[in-house]
Symmetry: C2
Subunit: 155 residues, 2 copies
């Protein structure tokens, strides 16, 4: 019998932190991801159940050239930071980040409680990532993502 498709996403193994080079990675030490889409055999897009500890952040502030991103808050509160300002996201709120927006975003947990959200991003080929606050660029090809500084030097 084939594998049945229903899971509890909280049973997916947790992965702490990010693949950024140091010193950037330490800023995302409070992020715990569960790769739910991969656990379900999905390949066209990723779905993570992600927990941000108090004081933690989702990522460096960034935008993608090809990938669309979507988030939906399941528990707690997060502050979305973009160049347009800050917005508070409570439980049941959603946000979307279309590819090529040119406006970096990330989520910061300024509350005393963990925050949990679903995040979805597609796997369009040739996606690069820009980090407007940091001397960092992320290149998609060849996978895994390669990080360089703005002068093109690898970390």
């Amino acid at each position: 019998m084939a594998k049945l498709p229903v899971i509890d996403p909280r049973d997916v193994p947790a992965q702490r932190g990010a693949s950024y080079p140091q010193p950037f990675a330490q800023r995302v030490a409070g992020r715990v991801r569960r790769r739910v889409g991969e656990a379900l055999g999905l390949r066209n897009f990723g779905v993570n159940l992600t927990l941000i500890e108090p004081g933690g952040q989702s990522a460096l502030r960034h935008w993608h050239t090809r990938q669309d991103e979507f988030i939906y808050v399941l528990e707690g509160e997060l502050v979305l930071v973009t160049s347009e300002g800050e917005q508070l996201l409570g439980q049941g709120m959603a946000a979307g980040f279309p590819a090529g927006s040119g406006d970096g975003h990330h989520l910061v947990n300024r509350s005393p409680y963990p925050a949990v959200y679903l995040e979805v991003g597609d796997r369009s080929p040739g996606d690069d990532v820009h980090y407007p606050d940091d001397d960092l660029l992320g290149h998609a090809a060849p996978a895994p993502r390669v990080f360089r500084n703005r002068e093109g030097q690898p970390y």
Copy 2:
């Protein structure tokens, strides 16, 4: 100032029912979708906040040739029906349907309460849809989706 990216998905306009030809459409009359991804400007994948009324169903039982699908239950209970059997999905449970599985699926609400879930599906080109229980085939190109019977006749 650009549009800020946070929304309450429950504020997105509701769309009742499906685009199937009759007599199939009436079976999905109890489905109410809010196209959250489109409201956020996303194009690479769709995200819907979908409500199934008691006695309703998500779709005809189907599988996609190219599109991956993901669902996450926010409220209530749904029964997932596939060729492998039935599974109950409560709040916080997830399921995934990789492209090309060959095993049709749909969600049925057998409870006395509405059920609400998030559904995500990518927009890979050339996606066809097979409906193993019905004399129906869905072709993706040219958009919008074209429905024919198994002898190739349009509805």
